[in-house]
Amino acid sequence: MSTAVETRPALNYLNQETGIRSWLFTLDHKRIGLLYVASITFFFFIGSFYALLMRLSLLEPNGWLFGPGTYNKLFSMHGIIMVWFFLIPSIPTTLGNFFIPMMIGAKDVAFPKLNLLSWYIFMVGGLTTLFAMIHGGVDTGWTFYTPFSTSYSTTWVTTAALGIFIAGFGSILTGLNFIATIHRMRAPGMTWFRLPVFIWSQYATSIILVLATPVLAITLLMIGVERIFQVGIFDPALGGDPVLFQHMFWFYSHPAVYIMILPAMAVISEIIPTFSRKPLFGYEFVVYASMMIAALGFLVWGHHMFVAGQSLYSALTFSFLSYLVAVPSAIKVFNWSATMYKGSVSWDTPMLYAIGFIGLFTVGGMTGLFLAAMGIDVHVTDTYFVVAHFHYIMVGGAVMGYLGGVHYFWPKITGKMYPEGLAKLSALIVFLGFNLTFFPQFILGYMGMPRRYAAYAPEFHTLNVMSTAGASILGIGYLLPLAYFIWAWKYGADAGPNPWRATGLEWQTSSPPPRDNFEETPVVTRPAYDFGGMKEELHLG
């Protein structure tokens, strides 16, 4: 343990300026990152609340708490909030905003004003959608499938879609900012192949954000036009093609899955080497795998539409392309495992989340292969099997990655340590609660329980009770970190600049960092994860 006394720097980004205005008008990427942390935490607990209500209602086969109409709104609002206002922005806008400039040795992102503007756009979008939900909700599902969303639904579809449309521009500008930052703001000596994999993954994510989000924007605009003016674009009664909507929607929404998972992989790629005391195994392969996932992500959207009436030949093509995504994903899983092999592994909380991520992501990914196979997909389409699959990716993958990342970077962000024992306990609770919630859903789906129904056949009762029990445990697992992080913000022990003895540039400056991140612009002479080359005093420190 640390014997040297490492005190917080007297002047850092947190106390250099004070007052609410210094936060709302800040151009500091670190503070903007924290604004996002507060916002998405708020949205996360709203989305979780809807999930909790659904799981409570499903305790009984007749859906004792809510009728079908309310239930439809609950799962729609859960999906919309979680996808667009938590998962998509989660890691890039918080940890990405905070650490991309620090990891490449820059003072800030390329366009700080644009960065702040992105947050305001995101908030206006989020509050617009929230307004729609408070005033009556949406019942189309997060997918807004036409013609239900354009011609039949009488709920607040237009307002909710408007909010997502607005928030999309926040995403685009964030992606634009990150790409420009990574291209042009690197410190001297920070070549492309000395970049931490975190940066590469965020770079791949940003490319998807920039290229896919505008397609969603234009699709939602068309939905709005069709609803407001009652003209035919997607409505078959007016000559439109609802399948075109599905193509355009999934052209965004499948890559959106990689917007959620690539940043989580970014975090895992930092945690695993640090807590194994070994360089990341096959660095270049992991880098290329990230880029390949981003590229292939644009070519697989059709696997959401196997039963939607696309031609057999395009379905076959999409099926094979979807299998291909397994290759770079598997490269990553194998390389993380190989990094741990014969490493000096320690079991701190971030590492627990990272190992949990690898296992759960593998389960989610493998069941994704089931769904990419047309025969099985037809059998389990619109069942709980699909629900379980994507929750293993999004909650087991993206949320575990986010939580792991927040624990890993917390000492740097705040300069304080969180309570390690409690954190380990809640990591365990999250892992157990998650599996108890979603594993039964694989079985339920395979047995034929359809998704998005307020009631179900009595033979599914036991597994549904298990799932609801798991969800309550998972809820505790999420509330605990919220509580101890708030506690640690004020009362945590001083962390010192590099509590994990990590190699990245972000750990070579004080915690919390000064306003300009570094006392002087760092010069990089070594590759990423060069544990052998670490200075001796860091080992002692």
Binding site: A106, K107, D108, V109, A110, F111, P112, L114, I172, G175, L176, N177, I179, A180, H183, R184, M185, V210, L211, A212, T213, P214, V215, A217, I218, T219, L221, M222, V225, F229, Q230, V231, G232, I233, L238, G239, G240, D241, L244, M248, D516, T521
Partner: protein, 219 residues
Amino acid sequence: MANPIALLLREQYSTPVQQRETSKLGMWIFIMTEIMLFGGLFLAFSVYRMSFPQAFVKGSADMSIVLGSINTAVLICSSFTMALAVYSAETGNRRMLTVFLIATMILGLVFLGIKFTEYYQHYLQHEAPAVWFDHTGPDSGHLEMFFVLYFLMTGLHAVHMLVGEGILTAMVIRNHRGSFSADYYTPVEISGLYWHFVDIIWVFLFAIFYVEGLHLHKL
């Protein structure tokens, strides 16, 4: 820091070259985003053009090829004056920079004026979907869809033109205040990139909406 160019260097950058290159890269990424935004509409147009060829050709024949061609010429001229504006900025000629920026803005406004004249004519011919559309015949529904896409796509383009007018106004004001010189004119340059991009979009819109039904035209 007595050098006035150094004062224009924002604190996150270390050199003026880095600042300039980063700004240009940012605009190029933004243009990629815009291509995907319009791309969704071009996709929808292509799909329905394939599905309902007769209605779409008929709709195209109702376009005013004369006004459309004039507008295309006007926009291409505005691209030329925009290029001259960037050249003036590059050579430090602030007076000509203002002249060419205003010329570009006037050409842009001429374009928008002609565009809204066309919209009004379509309205008078009962070709404004949702507002006043009465065409009968087997293709009328698909004809309406043609006009929905026409108003949506040219309308979105017109919104981009309006944004461009706003950007150029800001450039004129900043030039008047003396913000630009031969050493620092990046905002003018990236505004030019945006303007040219919006022009190129129009060329494609002209091709799909106006030229498509030319052979049926009663000039």
